[in-house]
């Protein structure tokens, strides 16, 4: 997860927490300049798009997102 986010958001501050220890409930924090000018929902959609396939299959069941504009 972290590697994928790091390649998507270069130079961003990224934190990933496995909330349940079962690798399907995550909380991620991304602080990146990319988010400038986006609404909160757009920022979250942007991050969520990185995990589209896993969210579709249910491999990742829950993803809690926190974003910040750098």
């Amino acid at each position: 997860m972290k590697e994928r986010l790091e390649s998507h958001y270069q130079g961003a501050k990224i934190e990933v927490y496995d909330l349940t220890g079962t690798q399907d409930h995550y909380e991620v924090f991304v602080e990146s300049p990319v988010f400038a000018g986006m609404t909160r929902i757009q920022q979250h959609q942007h991050v969520m798009a990185c995990f589209g396939p896993e969210l579709k299959t249910g491999e990742v069941h829950a993803l809690s997102i926190k974003t910040k504009i750098k």
Binding site: I41, H44, Q45, L55, K66
Partner: protein, 100 residues
């Protein structure tokens, strides 16, 4: 009417809409309950849509706003977010501003 058109018409008729599990009187999931509590605390009237009673809307709304989870808050036909975003915006005062 397609599901998309049904959602359009709900949003056209109501300024503040919460798509949720259960109703505002009786939320059926913790996240939906939290979303309702935030709106009730701000003191605004809102229209609730119980997705548990409408499978078409339940799956349709996820496509509609490109957002995979419920609850979903719409203000003036714009998707604002789920309960996490609502809580963040509530704590910073942004949500109150938006609902003025």
């Amino acid at each position: 009417m397609t599901t998309h058109e049904r959602i359009d018409s709900i949003l056209n008729q109501n300024k503040i809409v919460l798509f949720m599990k259960g109703t505002q009187q009786f939320p059926m999931c913790g996240f939906s309950a939290r979303a309702c509590a935030i709106l009730q605390d701000i003191g605004v009237q809102f229209h609730d849509v119980n997705v548990l009673e409408d499978e078409e809307i339940r799956s349709g709304i996820k496509e509609y706003g490109n957002w995979p989870t419920i609850p979903q808050l719409y203000i003036n036909k714009q998707l604002v977010g789920g309960s996490d975003i609502m809580m963040e915006m509530y704590q910073s005062g942004e949500l109150q501003e938006l609902l003025k």
